[in-house]
Every structure is written in C-alpha cells, then in structure tokens.
C-alpha cells in the first residue's frame, strides 16, 4: 500500500474498543506497536448487518484454521467482507474466541473503574457488546470472532495451545474492504494467553485508499473458491 494514501490513523489503547465502517475501496491496517497485541474482531455488512462474518464458512472455503496474507474473510452469504492483503505475522487465530468477565476476574483479579479509573479490567465479550450496541446491534449479533496477531496451535488430539511471541513490535496486517464493512474491534488479551498480568497492548489503526482487486489479485486467485467468492461479492454491487 502507498504510505501517502493514509486518510487517517489512530491509536487504540490496550483493553479498548473501537469500530468503523471500512468502505469498499479502502483498507484497514492494524499495527502491533509493542509486540504481543491481540485484536478481537467481528465484521458485518454495514447495509444489512444480518449478513456478518462467518467463521466456519471462512475456514471451510479455504481449508484453514489460521488466517494470513492471501486469505479472505467470508460472510454467511457467500460474499467476501475483507481480504488480507498485507501480513507480516503469518498466523492470526480464527478459533480461540474471546474473554469473559468471569475469565478476566479469575485470571487477573477484579478491578473496577472506581479504584483504577480507565485502567480497570476489560473483557472481550462485554466490550464487543458495548461496541455492537452503538450500532443498534446486540447479543444476537455476537458471533465467533477473529483474534489478529494471536496464534492457537491444535495438537493431534485436538488440544489447543496459545503460541507465545507470535507477533513482534511493528508487525501489521491490512484488510481490504470488499464491501462496506462495519468492523468491531477490541484490544483485550487473548483468552488463552497464559501471561499472568492484565497488560493488554495498544495497536495503531490506519485507513488508506486502495485499488480494487484485479483479475490477478493474489486473494482472488489463491483458491478457486475465492474466485467464486469475489464473483458473488462483485455481483452484489451490480
């Protein structure tokens, strides 16, 4: 992406929530500023939020249990919400889910606003719901999320383990919006992160203009399924 095409950028503090309608023709780049960040994310078709990111459709269309450059995020309607056009990490977790108040209390101890002001402990579930609520959405719209910058390995017996040190300072991932996509993000720690302290990391988000994916676009040609996914997405705008 052309560095000069940045329209705006903003830091999301650790343990914070954020949302934006990423317009078709732009890309959202997320940069891990310190290393070890986790960005929980869910995505919706802004024009009709009943159409939303679908974990199983994304995984089975591409035969993956990780996200990386060249893969795309599918909605439940066979369309591509966004494509991963840049990625210096190589593995983002689509299966581990998000944290709850119960998990955060048990892991890091309770911490209320009254005593800790804006450093009070946030969790993924509640921050997703708060941010969804701002767009008129709620618990029925909360679906399986992505965790950018985190990696969960699966052993032969199905056991899941969090990979430490997956993302370094300066690592980034860029998502090209293929529709007008409501992105709901938070920077809460990954639920399987064994780190004993409540230390959610900040990220930088930037919005840039990007060119539309051509016939030889890397995400389009990465699999025949994705070629069909792009065709269905482009039909939506005809």
């Amino acid at each position: 992406m052309n560095e000069t095409s940045v329209l705006w950028e903003e830091i999301i503090h650790g343990g914070a929530t954020w949302s934006h309608v990423v317009k078709r023709g732009t890309a959202l780049r997320i940069t891990d500023l310190q290393g070890g960040a986790n960005v929980g994310a869910v995505f919706y078709n802004f024009e009709c939020p009943a159409e939303r990111y679908n974990m199983p459709d994304t995984l089975k269309a591409q035969h993956i249990a990780r996200l990386a450059k060249g893969f795309v995020l599918y909605s439940d309607m066979g369309r591509i919400l966004c494509s991963i056009i840049e990625d210096t990490v190589g593995w983002h977790d689509p299966i581990g889910g998000t944290s709850s108040a119960k998990l955060v209390d048990a892991k890091y101890g309770p911490s209320r606003y009254q005593e800790h002001r804006n450093d009070y402990h946030k969790n993924g579930h509640d921050t997703f719901l708060i941010e969804l609520g701002k767009w008129g959405l709620g618990p029925r719209d909360l679906v399986a999320n992505v965790n950018f910058f985190s990696r969960v390995d699966v052993a032969q017996d199905g056991g899941m383990s969090f990979a430490q040190g997956n993302s370094k300072a300066g690592d980034h991932v860029a998502l090209r919006a293929e529709m007008n996509v409501l992105a709901i993000l938070n920077t809460c720690q990954h639920p399987l992160d064994p780190h004993p302290k409540y230390e959610p990391k900040p990220v930088l988000v930037s919005i840039r203009r990007v060119t539309a994916p051509g016939p030889d676009d890397a995400c389009r040609i990465s699999r025949p399924e994705n070629g069909r996914g792009f065709a269905l997405t482009e039909r939506y705008f005809l």
Binding site: I64, P139, G159
Partner: protein
C-alpha cells in the same frame, strides 16, 4: 481431555419418553427440560447432524462453538464436553458417546457457501441453513437468521493440522453409533439433518437419524 472418549449409555430405549426419526434434509426443533437426556443416533453411519442449542429462557444466550472449545482447550467434542453458551451458561453436558469425536468448526452448509465451495450453479440445492431458517420461523418466537450461529456437526470428523489446515476426513462413525447429552438448564434444540450432496463426508448419501429423550428420573 483426549480427542476420543468412548462411553456407552445405561439408558434403556424402551423407557424413552420420546423417539422420532428425522429424515435427511429435515429440521427438528424441540424444548428439552433441565435434567432430560437427548440421544442422537446415527442410524446408517457418517451422517452429519447439524445442531444448535439455546437457553430456553433467553434465546440470545445460545450455544457458542468458540466458548465451548476454549473452555476445554480442545476442538473436538466428546464425552465430558460441556456445551457452553455465549454468556458462559453450561447448556448441556455430553454424557455418552460411542462415536468419539464431533466437530464444531465446520459449521452448516448453506446455498451461498455451496456456491463458493462447489460451483455458482449449486444455489438451487437444499442446505442446512435453509432448514434452520424454516424451523425457527415456524417456531414463531421472533427468531431470525441472527439466531443461526456456528453449530455442532455431530458424527463429523474435521481435524486441524499443525500447519493450521482444516481437513475433512473420512467419518469415524458407523450405523448405530450415538451421542447423548444431559440438559443442564432448559434448552431449545434445533437440528438440521444435513442434505449435503457435494461432500464425501457422508458418502454423498444423506440418511435418517433418530432422536430419543429420557426424563431425568430415569438416570
């Protein structure tokens, strides 16, 4: 928890209070009371039984694939697995399983995902998410597509490799294998007996399954 945990049930089918065969391609929706046990029988082997659960007192508190696998730190469902909701409620516990492994990452087929996975011309083919939608609309309690979320595929084998690939392996189920779960609260059960004709997981041959229910007192 290991990936396979074979446990037979002591419940007697003759004492079940409910028994129903669900033909392939049909949905089934049913209220299960706390402490009741639900058994799903794979009558002819390797049939995908796409299943969703809801807290019967609040349908927005529903089965969560991610919370379920996160809580047990294992992607496979088998005996001992607690099926967890989005609010952290334990909806049901799997108490018996003669198949040994069930999937919750592969989701349900849809006409739209069939177009992506197989061919744009496949739109006309019947799919689980059509059955789910028909069932929740006929249930007539205000449920819509927003309530159709990532489901369980009972009897399906969908391993993840160390390289992060999702694979669809030959089934490990056989005729007569079953999975049984106890309701830990009142739950609404929604099943689509999968009509998928494009996937070798069911040998391209969707078949009937049976559901049985026992009252808690029968344990």
């Amino acid at each position: 928890m290991s990936g396979i945990n074979l446990v037979e049930s002591k419940l007697d089918p003759a004492k079940a209070i409910y028994s129903q065969v669900i033909p392939a391609g049909e949905p089934w929706i049913h209220l299960l009371k706390k402490a009741q046990c639900l058994r799903i029988v794979d009558l002819r082997g390797n049939q995908a039984v796409d299943t969703l659960f809801y807290n019967a007192h609040d349908y927005s508190d529903r089965y969560s694939a991610q919370d379920t696998i996160q809580q047990q730190t294992n992607i496979y469902l088998t005996t001992g697995t607690k099926l967890i909701s989005t609010n952290g409620t334990v909806l049901l516990t799997i108490v018996a399983d003669t198949c040994g492994r069930h999937d919750t990452l592969g989701g349900a087929c849809a006409t739209e995902s069939n177009m992506v996975r197989y061919a744009l011309e496949k739109r006309h083919m019947h799919a689980c998410r059509n059955s789910f939608l028909k069932a929740v609309m006929e249930w007539d309690h205000g449920m819509t597509k927003r309530d159709i979320t990532s489901n369980i595929n009972f009897f399906m084998n969908v391993p993840v490799t160390p390289e992060g690939k999702l694979t669809f392996e030959d089934g490990i189920s056989d005729p007569g294998k079953y999975v049984e779960m106890r309701a830990e609260t009142d739950v609404l059960v929604l099943i689509s007996n999968c009509p998928q004709l494009n996937n070798p997981c069911n040998a391209y041959n969707p078949t009937p399954v049976q559901v049985l229910i026992w009252d808690g007192a029968e344990k």
